[in-house]
Symmetry: C3
């Protein structure tokens, strides 16, 4: 496990962040050394935006300045996560290779002046990226400061240019084999779209009305594959010169349109960025959501939080401030869920440039600031958690997540504009988080037998294999909750005929959905169990299932809304509408109770978040975060690593990492 090589190298968990010394001068560098020491920084990400300095003109490299920083950091006891700078090609590159600039669906070609102005498919870009990666690896592959390779930064570019079109055709040929198969998959008989030569196929550029959904879904898949190929090329160029672990900092779904199950298989260490989008308790839930996703993509192995904001939340066009104490709480939320440390973007707040108001460890105001004091306290706490390295997390509950289902819900022409994949997934996680449950994410075709409960929210696209896997899971004793708008189409986006969802899954649920009834914006329907439904409803018929709640008014009056079906040794639940928060929480609670899932640690009240990390050697640690406004006595005193002492009660807003009691 390469993450182990990293924590061994660091002698514990990682703490630090992106470091861009090229924005500052020697006097500041000197202060940096001192402040990093005070903040217990042991890992710095260097070089992310330095292409223009590393290669000031095409083919001419200048690494002198970087040598100096590598040596300085090493001398200061800070290991380096060295980035290839390929997320931001310099102006000379885009002028020399205008065909490598990204093009929108409206065929407007973007220019430099921001970042990410490249098409990941363009041959000139790919060549330039491989070359700079190789040059860096050759020079620094064995540098004593080097702990990790950081390929690129947040792969996010999307392009519709002719290079992309050509590559898409190759990809399609591989996927579909023949034009006939492609025409069948995309159902080009509709709207007279039959392709008679590969050259006729384009990216989903701006057209008159809805684009072909199959084309759009395949383009998402293609783009993810092509981006992964670009990553692999850099990784392999690095590996030719260096044996240090290689990663790329992933943007979790919602930030980035990539299949992270696939990316996680190609990196030596899974590293992710986390930027919440709600303030307050929502940010805490979001941290848990992102951390649980990161661990799940990593297959349960330890991973690393590569970037987060110290004290800000981007929400609704604003840079809101986190609450005092959040830096530690959010860092521990990630560590509790398997992160081997906590890193931030960025060490020093830029004095100018496009992100000069982005958060940092050392803000404009300088070290005499609440932010730097909290950063220092967090660094101190993390430094005491070294014994957690390598330990893992166990969950009894899983939420299904599939990139295909996600992308499929981005096509034109869905029956309601309120349908949205990721919010449905996040809502399921939130209800479980509120219930104190530790959650994994799983792919619909994974072996699910280890879980007591599985929830499938908005699993619009479900393959035959996935549907059969879910049926088998219930049959084998699992408790499965399938939510509305699930199992409607196969991997080609072809609708399931004869009633939704896909037949083998219907068997496990004992229901048949006949018709969708999207609700109007703000429209609400009462259910017989007292909850309220919104956004969406379905007309369904039970075929063996028991109705637990029914619609009480309107067209669906008397029709089942929530059902449960004993099937094999398990139970299949179905929820046909978006019920209100209280109703959903109650439903999830009932599901957990019936399946025998106990919440968190016994003896602690609801507002205390608890996750347990289990070591290889049988030891374990409880990470506790008190979100309440009152101190909470522990069920029994325990040794807390943060204070390195016996803890009897957890103060309001406080955190602890207890050796298991």
């Amino acid at each position: 496990m390469d993450i182990g090589r990293l924590t061994d190298r660091l002698g514990g968990l990682a703490f630090g962040g992106d470091y861009n010394p090229e924005q500052w001068d020697a006097e500041v560098w000197k202060q940096d050394d001192e402040l990093m020491r005070r903040a217990h920084v042991n890992l710095a990400t260097v070089g992310v935006f330095s292409w223009a300095l590393m290669e000031p003109e095409e083919g001419r490299y200048d690494f002198g300045w970087l040598d100096a920083h590598m040596d300085r950091l090493h001398a200061a006891g800070v290991a380096v996560d060295l980035a290839t700078p390929t997320a931001s090609p310099p102006p000379w590159f885009t002028l020399a290779h205008p065909d490598a600039l990204p093009v929108g669906p409206d065929r407007v070609r973007l220019v430099h002046g921001s970042r990410d102005t490249y098409c990941v498919v363009a041959p000139a870009y790919r060549l330039a990226a491989r070359r700079i990666a190789a040059a860096l690896a050759e020079r620094y592959g064995d540098h004593p400061a080097l702990a990790l390779w950081h390929v690129h930064n947040e792969y996010v570019s999307l392009c519709h240019c002719d290079h992309a079109a050509a590559a898409f055709r190759v990809w399609l040929r591989n996927r579909h084999g023949s034009l006939d198969a492609l025409n069948a998959a995309w159902e080009t008989a509709f709207w007279s779209q039959r392709y008679t030569s590969w050259e006729q196929i384009l990216p989903p550029r701006k057209s008159q009305w809805h684009r072909n959904p199959g084309q759009a879904l395949d383009y998402s898949r293609f783009w993810s594959d092509e981006t992964l190929a670009a990553y692999r090329e850099q990784r392999d160029a690095i590996r030719a010169h260096s044996d240090r672990p290689v990663t790329t900092n992933l943007m979790l779904p919602g930030y980035q349109n990539l299949d992270l199950w696939a990316f996680a298989r190609e990196v030596d260490v899974v590293t992710v960025n986390h930027y919440p989008t709600t303030p307050g308790i929502g940010a805490a839930a979001h941290a848990a959501f992102d951390a649980d996703r990161a661990r799940s993509f990593a297959g349960g192995a330890p991973w690393l939080l590569m970037e987060s904001g110290t004290n800000t939340v981007y929400a609704g066009g604003r840079v809101l401030a986190k609450e005092p104490g959040d830096i530690l709480r959010h860092s521990l939320s990630h560590i509790a869920r398997g992160s081997e440390g906590a890193l931030f973007f960025q060490w020093r707040q830029s004095k100018a440039g496009a992100e000069q108001w982005h958060s940092s460890m050392v803000p404009h105001a300088g070290p005499d600031s609440r932010t730097f004091r909290e950063v220092t306290a967090t660094g101190e706490a993390v430094a005491r958690l070294g014994e957690l390295a390598g330990s893992t997390v166990r969950a009894e509950v899983a939420v299904l997540h599939d990139s295909d289902a996600w992308w499929a819900m981005k096509v034109d022409g869905l029956p309601s504009s309120e349908l949205d994949y990721l919010p449905a997934v996040q809502r399921a996680h939130r209800a479980l988080w509120d219930a104190g449950t530790t959650v994994d994410f799983a792919h619909p075709e994974h072996d699910l037998s280890r879980y007591k409960v599985v929830i499938a929210p908005a699993l619009f696209l479900l393959t035959d294999a996935g549907a059969e896997n879910l049926r088998r899971y219930v049959e084998g004793g699992g408790t499965l909750l399938v939510q509305y708008f699930s199992g409607l189409v196969d991997e080609r986006l072809h609708a399931r005929l004869g009633g939704y969802p896909a037949a083998p899954l219907r068997e496990a649920l004992g229901i048949r959905v006949e018709e969708h009834r999207p609700l109007r914006q703000g429209e609400e329907l009462a259910l017989s169990d007292g909850s309220t439904a919104g956004s969406w409803s379905e007309s369904l018929r039970t075929e063996g299932a028991e109705a637990l709640a029914a619609y009480t008014h309107g067209m669906l009056a008397g029709s089942p809304a929530v059902t449960r079906h004993g099937f094999g040794s398990g139970r299949g639940w179905y929820l046909s509408t978006r019920i209100d928060d209280a109703g959903y929480t109650a439903l999830v609670g009932r599901l957990l109770a019936e399946a025998g899932v106990a919440p968190g640690l016994p003896g602690l009240p609801g507002g205390v978040e608890t996750v347990t990390r289990h070591g290889q050697d049988g030891r374990s640690w409880h990470v506790l975060i008190n979100h309440g406004s009152e101190a909470v006595p522990l069920p029994q005193p325990a040794h807390d690593l943060i204070t390195d002492g016996l803890l009897e009660q957890l103060p309001a807003g406080g955190c602890a990492v207890l050796r298991a009691f």
Copy 2:
């Protein structure tokens, strides 16, 4: 009357829909034959999206597959409405003729991948369209299954390319005769827009601020004329080989920017599509609105509902569900108003493609579904209405509708963004529909003398001839209600000077509008009659008219808001603001009462919609739709064609077609 040839051929009214067998296989075709029989389908529209199959490469036709379907349908007793597939050129066409792809006002050229990716003006497109139409007519012109030709589908493309610019110049030369006349019409003295050669004139592409309103209005007219020319070319190509009636399925104003008074003159049978945009009772009113418009455009002759959705309403980004029973109710609403049947898009719900969630007669769930059961019941009912064929509808009230007025209100720079033509027309119809009145639509220059009441909502543009026609109508005894923002400009968009509206009309109304006072969003003014005004107000002076209600507050306090003027043998009413629904309903009710227009059938309560069709032979039929939630006893028992028995009361939500009592 060609519609008579169609109903004769069908032996009664039409029932069926778009049929796209190329999306399915032989097993499904076999089931289709059986299900169509069960549903009493007697007419299927074939070929709408089949260009890519009919002409797989330029100039090479493949009709074998279509022969088979034509023969099969004929054997199954289903007549064919054969479409030319020109609404959706295949990918090979757009690659061969990139200049025929549509271009937006921002000069972005759209690509294929959707439908309607053509410029209706592009020579290559026009040639290709004529050729495929001729080829189809040559092959199927005498096919025994063939009952109707369906040219194109929903002409909706709009383009701003250089082909369009060139054709626009030719059109302008014909309309205006000289550049001087054009400069005067467009008032190019303003903003230094004087044209000194025809080549300088462009479509209204994206410019710095407001575009010239005259240019924009002329472009709307040009586009409608050019689209009609494209239709005529195909029609004539067909007529050279076939004597069956020819139509194109019209999209009623609101869906499509065409002058349907003109289109209706060029089709053998007026056929229209209907897609409501509100659920519930709004959809019923919308059906009546669309059906009344269709009949009016057809000049009162029978016509045909070519497309509608069985069970869905597109509203606010959602595909809402209609209520149980709506399929029959909406079908009868159209038939009551002169449609010789009811057709749907489409027979089978597409399993994939851009409209896979669009409604159908056989949904994904299959024949074992509410939808198919209701379709079957509706087919059965329609099959029993054969004797209505050829009968017509009579109205005592007309609402004025003019494409020029509509387009004129789409130009840049109107005094309020709340001004909107079609909603004002629809509102007038709705108030009359609520009052149980059968309504015609009429052009402002039509002979109106047959009507007791005429309403002119938002008739912004009114020609000299139109203004004089309205004056004469009142003088001759008519009751005319003119609403705010009417009669402001002539056909060149030149303002009426000396006070609005246009002088001869003012004479009939006995008022002079001096100033407009648009209201702020949400602003309301009280009127002296207890109603509330919003959106708009006007400062007017009576010149003979009597003030029925006045503004009570603000700048207009004491100023007349609603007036009535005895003129000649008639009465001219003026409404200077948008009063609330209750006030508007009351005003329209008063107008009807004073003019002696009695609502619907005597003895029936308000919630029962009633329209009467009158046969050539003196027979007549009352179509009744009970929108209430209680059964309604009939004034006297009558023979109901649907149940083929004596009916004494109409159940809640029920329909009947009674031989006149």
Copy 3:
């Protein structure tokens, strides 16, 4: 003072407006002569949109029609403000010089068909503009009707074309000297944007994410400078042939993105356009705001209101109507603040074209209309104010205004989308206007010692010199209120480190801002003084200042929100949040009271607006506008110029111009 030459020429104040006789015929011209006489019009702006008539083809001029109008107006006693027509190039120009059409950031090139379809940088446009200006000056430079030259009209075009790019590079070279300096200023080390040749630099065209803020700010500065250069070229071409004063009608910030401090230095007479954007009392406050800005840009000298709408307010997509009496009230509000007259756009309402619904002096309804009657009454009043010519206005309070600060707040990536420069400036003015105070605007680097109170709202960008100037102002005895989001960056947009705002200013305020805490939309915080804060908050520490109000809840509970600091002989106040209207009014009131600023005229109630003009000869006049709904007795009877009699009380809505009592 050239404005004196104008009023001397007119024999008093100016009254009139834009006059476009080319839209009408001889009969109307005759009526115009008569109506202008009735309305006391003595100045008409001619030629603004007449390029196509003046130069019907490139290089061929036709001035015959204009000769006739010049002579006719002269004969009618109306002086002419002659415009160069360069705001609207004719169609022939744009066809001959397509490279001179403006290009958006998305590289879409706009076409003619509106107005302002030129790039102010394009050589062909500049040449054509100079040529037509020279030709006009040559022909009319000594015409007896000519009173003023009106270069162009409302310079507003913005362009991102290659001509603009080339000129931008020249401008940057002049400003920054070297690429190294530019790279440092724009902090191109971030996001790898380092430029290695001038050719790599582009306008801020559409890019992937945020554009570089330094680039964006410099583009705003460049565009303002380049526009000014275009003006100067025309001015100089005119001066070669004519000695009459030259102006261009400025659009005040909010309408136009130019640095008016710089423009005001280059015109012989400052002339401005005024179009309010709120109805009712808001329009009156807006008139005062615009007039105070105009006078301040003019350096306190008399100036001229060149355009305003007689009876309309553009607000929220509507052309709302002003209230009866507003034409006089708004005209006097401008005259009170130094305008040497009142002019309108336009004389006659266009019967057609893009602005046919724009207001006018003679509306569509003709002279028999409220509007024309009010125009006539206003003309009569203005005609009686001749003795005010040349007098000026004195203010004890200034609000700081800086184009750099304004443009700087338009860059991408600010911490809150609710931050907006001009609304903050307008709000400060409004609070002072409500308090009856006469207000100047001043540049942060101006000598401020003449003011008792200075307010700095949202002065985001503040140079070292500006910060020192403000510090010195307080030290010298001034009362300064600095508002949140001020003093954060220097002129290169580089953040102030060590705490905000810029260090020398902090000294005067006795505070240090450590962190920004933008609030969510609609979020409110209570302050200890009973007011409510919204939009924004800051975490600050007093360093000598006294806390006048503190936050009471949330993260900032107990932290100071409003502070006051005695420094030198003055006081520095700081407001860290956007408090509610009542709280802000109270704060400003307290500031004025403590600084000894007395409101308006003693003895008059709050709703009476009062401004005093002071003549060179010691005479002075009080302009009074009663916004209340009750008559107000004057403290003592005084001679009113408008009624030319002794006035004892001012009626509701009434105005007076009193010889000082």
